[in-house]
Amino acid sequence: MAKRVNITIDGRNILAEEGRNLVEVASENGFFIPSLCYFETIDPPLGTCRTCTCRINGKFSPACTEKVREGLTIEVNAPDLKDMRKALVEMMFAEGNHICPSCEKSGNCDLQHMGYELGIAISRFPHLFKDRLIDYDAKRMIMEHNRCIKCMRCVVEIKNDDGKNVFSYQNRGNETYVGIDYKEEKKLTREQAVHAMNICPTGAIIVRGESYGMPFGFRKFDKKSTRPDYGTPVKNNNKRNGKPAKKTIATVSLAGCFGCHMSLLDIDTELLDLVELISFHKSPLTDIKEFSKRCDVGIVEGSVCNDENVETLRAFREHCDLLVAVGECAIWGGLPSMRNSIPLGECMEEAYLNCVTSEEGNTIIPYHKDLPKMLDRVYESREIVKIDYFIPGCPPDAQHIWKAVKNLLWDENYSILYSEFKYD
């Protein structure tokens, strides 16, 4: 047996086998270190994603490229480290184009899982909206470049029976993508191809006919979280006596599908209790068009796609004490932002002139001074005004929305269940 050595993780002394990978040793001892590129059988470890960054003997360093040795002192859960690791995962979401509700991998996706585990509501980074291809030309696989996080797993791991690499990085810098060799891919056996799909931590590698084997809702990460704090009851610490004061709410759906509004109403009979406590002012629910008083909270659904949206959002900022962005569209652009990698002109032509329902020669692109002007791309709400809170989801679960809003209005504490947070 290998020599055992003493290491310290977050102040706890641990006896571990010398030379073993730190990520594994930490995990066996109950320390959760996020990881995305690390894969047990790949040696040497890849060290590309950096989401396992810890402080090792005082220096920032990824845990997955560290061998356990005598005297190693590791800090895992310091606040700055947690924030840094979270930032790295946020980077991946901002860098790629991830639309989970339409992704084959949802529920089995390591990246998505990491998003939930780290409690990411929003990426602090601006979405890059790079125009990326989906490559359908390989025989067995579809390469969805929008979702690849360049973890390198497929590049080093997937070889066909000739021993040749099927995947290789192309270009460099932010232009880097994983190229697939059509000739070599053809030679992969079904098992090898499925293996490629399975080791991919995201939905970038999709094998035709194999990706929906497991229904949504029953997948690897659908039910459980390693985070202890999801669903743990939180003590209600509000000291209010009697009935809470009545509050005023305004809501709006900018470029969205009204799904978030539907979700808002999806609390059954609780709605009746709520109406006692809340009055809706400007909102599609009341059909009040103009602000005539100040509101406590403004709920914003949808992204900003035209000049009218900008004005509306600014009016909300002016009249509401707090603004809450609800749903992915308001948070980072969501589905409407799929147009962001396509020039505006092409989008309009496609929508008005070339789409299947338009009659050739009979349709025009409508312009009128009263019609809103389209913006060059779809913007996130916080690119226009300061947003105080974000509630993620597509749409977010009704309970999730109301628990959060109640907390803002009356300082009531609630715990959010994993099933309420992970709702897609």
Partner: protein
Amino acid sequence: MDAQHANTYLIEPPRTQMLNRLWEFQRAKQYISDADIITLAKDYNISEIEIEGIVSFYHFFHRKPAGKYTIYLNNSMTSHMKGFNRILEAFERETAAKAGSTDPTGTFGLFLTPCIGLSDQEPAALINFYPFTNLNTLKVRNIITQLKKGVPLEEIYDKPKKNILFTTEDKASIFFSEFKSGSAISSLVALQPDGVINALRETRLSGRGGAFYPTWMKWQAAADEKATPKVVVCNADEGEPGTFKDRVLLHDVPETVIEGMIVCAYAVGASFGLIYLRAEYTWLQNRIEKALQRYRDKGLLGKSCGGITNFNFDIRLQLGAGSYVCGEETALLESAEGKRGEPRTRWFYPVQKGYLNLPTVVNNVETFSAVTRIVELGVDCFRSYGIEKSPGTKIISVSGDCKYPGIYEIEWGMTLGELLDKCGAEDPHYIQESGPSGTVLTLDEQDVPFAMFAEFFSQHIRCGGALTIFNKNRDILDILLNYADFYKKESCGICTPCRAGNYFIERKLERLKNGLANHEDIEELKQWSIIMRHTSRCGLGKTATNSLINTIEKFEEYFDGMIQQDKSALNVGFDMEAAIRDYEEFKN
């Protein structure tokens, strides 16, 4: 070629010829064709996509014809200061090629490239890798006219000036004084390997590539490795914008570099050497190869080097292909092995598993040069220069807003103010030391000395080799945007914080440039920079935001003047006119 020669000292797998093969194809028809890719894939028995991956990593390799004359115009900051825009226009006008493409006849290809190591003679360009310096619009017209007439490049290119402007107060020079080949090798037997390493220890020689890792420690570690054969690599990739000291050493005293490698091989027990030369210095290749041949002819390289029995060592030169990150030692090794230049993790250090997984010492050109001089002149002579903890001299490449850009061999201990005086700095305001990955200095730091380690003074400037001076009229944001663009393009792309981070930083700086940023944006810039510094895989990402962080700290008023002052920031900066411009244009 020498490759075969050197091969008897180490059997290199055929794959290590990858870049050379690609260069042959590229030179023959100015691009690499589909057929070439298939040929290479067959020859090396690897997939075509892997070859494509290598080709697309290096920016001097093209998949489309790049012109009978391929012009690379430097777009680094020093070039911009000396009129880059005019020169670019002139090239576009004279050649009818737009930047990034060829003219319709395919005669000229015009491309931009970061620093080509001629910052003291900007604007400068490479045409088929021949240097052209101190360009002006008239000169550009002449060059193109001549080329159109068929005058060979060899006849019209500029031999870059060496520009050695200062070598210590008593005009003595450690690096540039006359050198007789073999004068260091002749002391080796007396010193023995331990003696060599000890001499380096006593002179505190530290890596001149910028990291200042003690050279003796690296060599000791390599000497202690059991595995053989061992490898010595000279890092001649000098890519840090504003740096050109290695260029002058390789041009003027290549023997001292070669001999330093031989000394190293002797000390650590290596049998194979590799000089990784950046392709921007292709014009130096011949000079170096000739120097190597002279060494072989004299019996100083090859079997029984310098007459020392059982000491067999030879050196091969490997040309890069356009990638800054290949200066990072592990990326360099990957590249020399014929792969994409992606830095390795620290799972193994090069001295354990380096080139072809063999124990490998990687040192900078100047480091090897210094080694030779230490062995030649002796520890005491070396130590008589400089200061206690930083003995010897340091070569600094000075450029930018100064009367005398060029090479300054200073003694450690000289202050920033003294050097600024010497080079005739003009109204220095924003002073960049060690290139974009170094530190930004201001005149407040005039009295701070250049030194490797802290001494009696609290501050010191650990300069890797470049000092770029910007005066008050230079827009700091333009400088930062130039750097951001550089890092974005030169990032190897395999780790998240650098690949994505540099892009985010650039976006944010553009917001600042457009007057849309507020104090929160500045705060975020700082935080993101720090995240990149702590989480990036290699030095590129770790240092990419150094200048930015420094600037935010040292030029607070500058940023204050350009951000929106509304502290509540309820309305975020948003340019409606710009956002609906596309719509208005499309409508018409």
